[in-house]
């Protein structure tokens, strides 16, 4: 007879709704053609608020790749990409999405030629409706812009495309820093101007005048949702934490690309209220919090649930991370709902891969200190150079400035073949033992 072992995880109940909201969103995308809706494919920043105000359906390339990976359905698209010629070391988000583009284009050609009978396993990846146009607004990673350029070419260069150029915030001047300095102000103005150009492009694509009132309304929902999200995150500075990094991962889709409306605000209100209630009742995010870690790296979507369990089994509460806490409308005070363009531009620039190491050191060490972190886990994300870029320097900085250790494990955003379980296990155990030793010495 087997004995059921209680999970050490105590995930927020309110985030369960995110899954249903996200599924409904994708179903709407899949049926967009049947409903006669226009579809835009985009990558990078959350310019979807503009699409929403313009009455479009929007498909975020990375989000779709992440969804396929989280459901372990990425392989058909990746195989299609491989057959087309993409090398396996290419960004697996891009590789998966381009594979979808190849399948979608094939489906379109087969439909036009009357050829039918695509194999079932391809079906999901090719359910994406072909785009009416592309918008690229990629910050940080130089691959992002090229990815859409290649999608444009895969579709035979006959689908219009608009590129928003987002300058990398290098920090050239002495006054440069997070949310300040000449570079920040100039970049903001540059991107704001481009967003107005993007809106004019959208007007051309839709044949309709853009509804700025609707954009203001959409952004007011975004701002409120973001304030609630940040408020709930801040409550997790308490020990034990009432919610974990994995709960914030579950809330990425809502804040990043789901339609902004009363439902979105209600979702984050529920999350915030549950976290507050837990804090009041002393209910922790994991059963026995003994260690608090920071997670740096983009999510390993294939292993999402597995990683959450793995850390909890070692009494580790992963409390915050660069991907969750320094992205996705994370500075709501910048949003002026009467005139939202500038605040939108600023958030597009605030992608956590769009800063030089100096700023990233500041953000990482600040969060590690604020959340009372004992160590950092770096997800060395095999095909994501943008996220891995500063990791070694961040590890050295945290050790030097805060005296906290770190560990690296190998994996990838959407390609499970790069994941090395044994390495994660042994390095995690070693780091936790090191933390124990340090604590014992401090008490001696």
């Amino acid at each position: 007879m087997s004995t059921a072992v209680a999970s050490p995880m105590n995930r927020l109940g309110s985030t369960a709704l995110a899954g249903a909201m996200t599924s409904a969103y994708w179903e709407r995308i899949f049926t967009a053609r049947e409903r006669g809706a226009q579809v835009v494919w985009y990558n990078g920043s959350a310019v979807n608020v503009i699409f929403q105000a313009a009455g479009l359906e929007w498909c975020h390339g990375e989000a779709f790749s992440a969804r396929l990976a989280a459901q372990h359905l990425e392989k058909p698209a990746q195989l299609a990409g491989e057959e087309y010629g993409y090398v396996g070391e290419l960004c697996s988000y891009a590789r998966t999405h381009l594979g979808c583009a190849v399948l979608t284009q094939q489906a379109r050609e087969e439909e036009n030629s009357g050829v039918v009978g695509m194999v079932d396993q391809r079906e999901l990846a090719s359910r994406l409706p072909a785009p009416d146009f592309f918008v690229n607004a990629y910050a940080g990673c130089s691959t992002g812009q090229q990815w859409d350029e290649i999608s444009y070419r895969v579709f035979g260069k006959d689908v219009p495309i608009f590129n928003v150029s987002l300058p990398f915030l290098w920090g050239n001047k002495p006054d440069a820093g997070y949310l300040r300095g000449q570079e920040w102000e100039e970049a903001t103005t540059y991107v704001s101007d481009q967003l107005h150009d993007l809106i004019r492009f959208v007007e051309q694509m839709t044949g309709r005048k853009f509804d700025f009132d609707r954009l203001r309304e959409v952004m007011s929902y975004v701002k409120k949702a973001s304030e609630l999200r940040r408020e709930a995150m801040a409550m997790c500075k308490a020990a034990p934490t009432p919610a974990t990094y994995w709960d914030w991962i579950a809330s990425i889709a809502p804040i990043n690309f789901l339609p902004a409306g009363p439902e979105l605000v209600a979702y984050f209100q529920a999350v915030r209220d549950e976290v507050a209630q837990r804090l009041a009742d002393g209910v922790p995010g994991i059963a026995n919090e003994r260690y608090r870690l920071y997670f740096d790296g983009i999510m390993n979507w294939n292993k999402l649930g597995y990683l959450a369990r793995k850390f909890a089994e070692y009494d580790v509460a992963v409390v915050c991370g660069r991907y969750t806490h320094n992205a996705f409308w994370q500075e709501p005070h910048l949003i002026d709902t009467d005139d939202p363009i500038r605040g939108m531009a600023q958030h597009y620039l605030l992608c956590p891969t769009n800063h030089g190491v100096r700023t990233l050191k500041y953000l990482t060490n600040r969060d590690c200190a604020d959340y009372g972190v004992d160590g950092i886990v770096f997800h060395s994300t095999r095909t994501c150079r943008a996220f891995t870029n500063p990791q070694h320097l961040l590890a050295k900085s945290a050790q030097k400035e805060l005296g906290i250790p770190s560990m690296f494990f190998e994996g990838d955003v959407a390609d499970a073949s790069f994941y090395k379980e044994e390495i994660l296990e042994s390095r995690l155990v070693a780091m936790l033992e090191g933390i124990d030793v340090r604590r014992a010495r401090a008490l001696a």
Binding site: V87, T143, W170
Partner: protein, 393 residues
């Protein structure tokens, strides 16, 4: 048969160029000692070196060196391209301390990682990034690029402590154009079949030109040209085009291997080759505007997959130049982990396949070049072309 090697080795000019290409750091140290001047290290691909030259600086395009990557392994991961990992390694080992400043104009996320490592280790040295627009088909591109060129001018003027005058910049532009014109003569002669140069020797000419004082380099090139370039076309060899490697020089062992296998390289679009010298700075009243136009012209002259310009196609360009040079096949040299190249490669493959042009993809790394397995693959490509020739006859 006569080739450049027979004529000039051990000639003074080629020996000097070879020495500089082989050890750029030694040249930098020697130049500083000789002139008392300051040297700035520039990162590929599009830094407007003319502006630094006009300020009285020696702009040196930082080259990959041959050292095994050790310390750098703890700074950038193994899935970065060989060039960027090597730069991180050079920075950590103090090899870059010979430079008085660092300048970068290109937004490549891997390169930015390496430049950030440089900033970390050379903390008292200015490390400037002026991001040149990559979406260059946009209507605002020319204005934005021009502003960025002006920002480079202001930044470098601040670095040297004096203004950079238009006349000085025009003089530097003319000098750099002269260098490009001279280098293009070698490539044009090779392409037209009037002269034979091994790809390794041509790499020496270009690589040394990325490092040396331009006037000195030009004088040496003229010395080489005075020896005459005519040579018989090689018989029985398969003419191939080398494509790829956007930032650093392919290993000479690989270039030699390609020829050893029976190929004759008649053209290329390598950064250490045609790509670097293809476009001159055009005439314009304002030299900063001229520099901006040069940047935009480069992508038309030899399209680069790191830029977005919808009416310019690298694949179409390659088909055209293959026609012009008579190359019978194409060898793609892809620096492993170079994402722009990985993204564009299927488009190249489609275009080449559509014309029935045989081609081979070779991934290169900083270390661990499996030359013998590459030999087999190159020989197979050449054999395929030979059989095709037989069928066509």
């Amino acid at each position: 048969m006569v080739d450049i090697e027979d004529r000039v080795v051990p000639g003074r000019a080629i020996a000097r160029l070879t020495a500089v290409a082989g050890d750029p750091d030694a040249y930098v140290r020697e130049w500083k000692q000789r002139t008392g001047g300051r040297v700035i290290g520039a990162f590929p691909m599009n830094f407007p070196a003319e502006i630094a030259h006009a300020a009285g600086l020696l702009p040196v395009l930082i080259q990959e060196n041959r050292e095994t990557i050790t310390v750098g392994r703890n700074l950038l991961t193994e899935f970065y391209c060989g060039y960027t990992r090597n730069i991180a390694d050079q920075a950590a080992k103090g090899r870059l301390s010979i430079y008085d400043g660092f300048y970068n104009a290109d937004h490549c996320i891997q390169l930015l990682g390496a430049v950030d490592v440089t900033r970390e280790f050379e903390e008292d040295t200015p490390v400037y990034f002026g991001q040149l627009e990559t979406s260059i088909g946009s209507t605002w591109a020319i204005d934005k690029v021009q502003r960025k060129m002006a920002a480079f001018r202001a930044e470098i003027a601040g670095f040297v402590g004096h203004d950079i005058h238009d006349d000085d910049l025009r003089a530097s532009i003319e000098l750099f154009n002269e260098q490009r014109r001279l280098l293009r003569r070698f490539y044009d002669e090779r392409r037209s079949g009037n002269a034979y140069f091994s790809p390794a020797h041509l790499q020496v000419l270009v690589k040394s030109g990325m490092v040396m004082d331009r006037a000195e380099h030009i004088a040496l090139l003229q010395e080489v040209l005075q020896l005459g370039l005519s040579a018989e076309r090689q018989r029985g060899r398969i003419k191939v085009h080398l494509s790829g490697h956007f930032c650093h020089a392919p290993r000479t062992e690989l270039l030699e291997l390609i020829e050893e296998c029976g190929a004759q390289v008649v053209d290329d679009d390598l950064f250490h080759g045609t790509r670097w010298i293809a476009a001159d700075v055009p005439d314009a009243d304002d030299p900063i505007e001229a520099m901006a136009l040069w940047y935009l012209a480069r992508n038309v002259a030899v399209p680069c997959p790191t830029r977005v310009q919808h009416d310019v196609d690298w694949d179409g360009y390659l088909l055209d130049v293959l026609d012009g040079s008579g190359a019978e096949g194409l060898i793609v040299l892809m620096a492993k982990f170079c994402e722009p190249h990985m993204l564009y490669y299927p488009e190249l493959r489609k275009a080449l396949d559509s014309k029935g042009i045989p081609h081979l993809l070779i991934e290169t790394e900083h270390e661990g070049m499996p030359l013998e397995s590459m030999r087999t693959r190159i020989e197979a490509l050449l054999e395929r072309i030979r059989r095709r020739q037989a069928v066509l006859v």
